[in-house]
């Protein structure tokens, strides 16, 4: 290779690299400029809309300022309304939904629901659910089978937020078919249907000889979440199931409902071989039986499992005077189980009058 050829090759390479870097700089600068312009425009629009929406919602003004939007404004106004609706409910929420329909913002939704971009489909599904665009609900049912999980998830949320129990069956079936989502997320979706879902779920399970175990889990968790006493008898039945996980959930839910009639079913659980069940039974007994639970809780204070002792100590502490008296006795007893004594001391430390 000659010196000239070498130099020429190196120069060419540096020139190409410099040109590429320059091209990237130009592209970045252009992107930055576009973003800055859009951000300024968005901020200006939002400032205007914030005043106008307050006037519309609370001063009874006509929705005229929201009627003639350009395409860009429409794209900015929909996320704005979604954010507004996230903090409003009741009359104001209905008024915002009405505004969405008045302003005919749902134009283009059917195209967006079929978009090839998952983000676009998910945002359209969110819009349908949040603003209750009924005409597009059947499309959300199709999106439940979308290959992209977060699109299907948003569609399920949209259907649940409609609060229409006619969609409960497909949504629940979708929820039960999902292994890729954590249970908590699925419960969150189902909660969108409101407390009416529990009665529906109860009827659905009655109509089946062997309901899915996860249906029972959902039922118990939702009953606890809604504090739904009418479903308590069904939870009591769950106390006698073989599956310890279902029994644990039932005990927790019954404690949340403060359903004292469940005591005969809860009491034997303090001797259950499953320690989680014993721990939950300790908490539940403290709530459901009150001072009558003290002897059982004292026994549980010497349980071989730390978590059971902790739950028992906490339950005694929550009982107030009766529990504090027992804790004081355990804390001051040199012959008591050392773990129980330590836990009793720990619980009592924030109770100056009860300290030994």
């Amino acid at each position: 290779m000659t010196a000239a050829a070498l130099l020429r090759a190196l120069l060419w390479m540096f020139a190409v690299a410099a040109a590429l870097v320059g091209l990237m700089a130009a592209a970045g600068a252009w992107i930055q400029r576009q973003r800055d312009r859009r951000d300024v425009y968005r901020a200006a629009c939002r400032q205007r809309w914030e005043q106008e929406i307050v006037a519309y919602l609370y001063e009874g003004r006509e929705p005229a300022p929201f009627m003639n939007f350009s395409r860009t404004e429409r794209h900015l106004f929909i996320p704005f309304l979604l954010r507004v609706l996230a903090v409003l409910s009741g009359r104001e929420g209905t008024a915002v939904r009405k505004l969405y329909h008045h302003a005919r913002l749902s134009r283009g939704l059917s195209r967006r629901l079929r978009s090839r971009w998952p983000r676009e489909r998910a945002l359209a599904a969110l819009e349908v659910g949040t603003f209750q665009v009924e005409v597009h609900f059947p499309r959300l049912l199709v999106l439940l089978h979308d290959p992209v999980p977060f699109v299907a998830h948003t569609a399920a949320r949209g259907l649940a937020n409609s609060r229409r129990l006619e969609f409960a069956s497909p949504v629940l079936d979708w929820v039960l078919s999902q292994d890729s989502f954590q249970l908590e997320r699925q419960l969150w979706i189902l909660e969108g249907f409101g407390p009416g879902l529990l009665t529906w779920l109860d009827l659905r399970m009655q109509g089946r000889p062997n309901p899915d175990e996860r249906e029972w889990i959902m039922f118990a968790k939702l009953a606890a979440s809604y504090r739904s006493v009418p479903q308590a008898s069904r939870l009591v039945d769950m106390l006698y199931f073989d599956d310890p996980e279902l029994r644990i959930l039932a005990v927790k839910a019954l404690a949340a409902l403060d359903y004292a009639e469940a005591l005969p079913g809860v009491w034997p659980l303090v001797a259950d071989p499953n320690w989680v069940l014993r721990a939950q039974a300790a908490t539940a007994l403290g709530i459901l039986a009150g001072p009558r639970a003290v002897p059982s809780l004292v026994e549980l204070m010497a349980d071989p499992v730390f978590e059971v002792r902790r739950h028992a100590a906490q339950a005694l502490y929550r009982l107030g005077a009766a529990g504090a008296e027992v804790l004081r006795r355990v804390a001051g007893d040199p012959e008591a189980d050392p773990f129980a004594r330590d836990l009793a001391r720990e619980r009592l430390q924030w109770e100056p009058a009860a300290a030994p």
Partner: protein
């Protein structure tokens, strides 16, 4: 025969060096492309499913933050205040004072009206003895532990013993967390049942305006050394890591902001001494879960969740690079049976070899390549094709890989609002292979030598 070897050996070495640089920079570009797709998808997901809703949900998973402090009288109270003010439904802050000789503990007691408590500690991981625990009637979510000095790993294990919630995150007193960092970092745990750990992107704090309300005003650091580290963080710790989870093989750098499932941490024996804590922990986690045959994921969250001050001067940066290199080698050596071992799936057959080749061995191979290039450059006409190819592959392709990462960040995340900052960052990315990279390689070589000599300052 000897002539043949003499002729072939330099040729083979030259092309091996070129192939290495091509693979290194090519992999960097490929990971950036993969990470961009993953980030775009993540942002779409977040847009359709807002974080604010998580805060209101009764189903979010509670979390324990463990902060290990030692002789940090000046900053401990501010750090704890920052943690207590985070936006998250239910969490507990455990501050472990690892035998401070200054007034750290006293400052904490006074600032938070702490009083000794008879907290029962369930010793699931052995640690040095606890002298006392303190709690406050005003801040029920705060627990302060005073223990015998035992090193950072010991303090973190002590925090794990006291942790009440199913998720655990260890934090550092010097970090500034985004207000919603915990919401974002724990979100994958709610999404998928098989998530074992999550990691958040770390960004350099230098140059940003920090107020009691958090980060206000993001700009580029003033010094070139810190700016180069911004590019490095971006390329290695964000796009480099974002691309890996899709391949089922994320590893965290030492000192990463990460959230773990507590039961898994206890199962693998918590933190260990004399090793890069987070990196070694993730290796053990991979190993444990693969051996058990359990499906799992380690997820990277691309949002900037944690801001860390990076060294502004060469001496501090040198120390950090040496330490990282030594810790990485130490952790990799401890788990050497996983190398190239198909029993450990993608981790054994792809990620660890990748780490060994392109991160652990990079200083040696790259510096050898540079030495070879220097020799060739002395007689450029004899090695013309090599010189040209090396400049193209090692320098220009490396610079382009950095520039692409900076451009992609601008397109997707748009972190720096001022155009001037972004241009400066692009300039740094273009210049990174011309001096800075060689400098860090030399420091990392020192780290390798430290490790070979068995020097251990890890928990000092």
């Amino acid at each position: 025969m000897t002539d043949w070897i003499q002729a072939l050996l330099p040729w083979a070495c030259q092309w091996a060096v070129l192939a290495y640089f091509l693979a290194l920079n090519g992999a960097s570009l490929a990971l950036t492309a993969k990470a961009c797709l993953a980030t775009r998808r993540y942002l779409g997901e977040v847009e359709a499913d807002r974080f604010e809703d998580y805060f209101e949900s009764a189903h979010s998973k509670p979390l324990t933050l463990v902060l290990a402090v030692r002789d940090q009288e000046a900053g401990a109270v501010a750090a704890v205040n920052g943690l207590l003010g985070l936006h998250f439904p239910e969490f507990q802050v455990i501050v472990v004072d690892d035998g401070s000789a200054d007034g750290t503990l006293q400052r904490l007691i006074e600032a938070f009206h702490l009083r000794p408590s008879a907290k029962v500690v369930r010793t699931q991981l052995p640690t040095r003895p606890i002298r006392a625990t303190y709690e406050s009637a005003y801040l029920p979510r705060l627990v302060v532990v005073d223990k015998e000095p035992g090193g950072r790993f010991d303090a973190l294990n002590c925090g794990l013993n006291l942790a009440r919630y199913p998720l655990v995150c260890s934090v550092d007193a010097g970090w500034v967390l985004e207000n919603d960092a915990l919401l974002r970092a724990t979100r994958p745990f709610l999404d998928r049942p098989d998530v074992a750990a999550t990691a958040g992107a770390i960004r350099p704090l230098n140059g940003c305006t920090v107020t009691p309300m958090g980060i206000r005003g993001i700009s580029l650091p003033g010094g070139w050394l810190a700016r180069m580290q911004v590019v490095e963080f971006l390329r290695t710790f964000l796009f480099g890591r974002m691309g890996l989870p899709r391949l089922g093989s994320l590893f965290l750098p030492d000192g990463a902001f990460s959230v773990y499932r507590k039961d898994l941490l206890l199962a693998i024996g918590g933190y260990r001494p004399a090793a890069g804590e987070d990196f070694e922990m993730i290796l053990r986690l991979h190993r444990h879960l693969i051996r058990q045959g359990r499906p799992y994921q380690i997820v990277m969250v691309p949002d900037p969740l944690c801001w860390v001050a990076v060294p502004g001067d060469a001496a501090a940066l040198r120390g950090r690079r040496r330490r990282w290199q030594r810790r990485m080698l130490d952790a990799l050596w401890r788990h050497r049976e996983m190398w190239f071992n198909p029993e450990y799936g993608r981790v054994g057959s792809f990620s660890l070899p990748y780490l060994l080749l392109f991160e652990a061995a990079a200083p040696v191979v790259e510096l050898a390549g540079w030495a070879w290039f220097a020799c060739a450059a002395l007689a450029p006409l004899a090695h013309g094709p090599f010189v040209v190819s090396f400049v193209g592959v090692a320098l220009l392709l490396g610079a382009l890989a950095g520039c692409v990462a900076v451009l992609m960040e601008q397109v997707i995340l748009h972190p720096y609002p001022r155009l001037r900052d972004w241009m400066a960052l692009l300039g740094c990315a273009a210049l990174e292979p011309f001096g800075y990279r060689q400098l860090t390689l030399a420091w990392r070589i020192r780290g390798i030598l430290d490790w070979l000599r068995g020097r251990d300052e890890i928990n000092s």
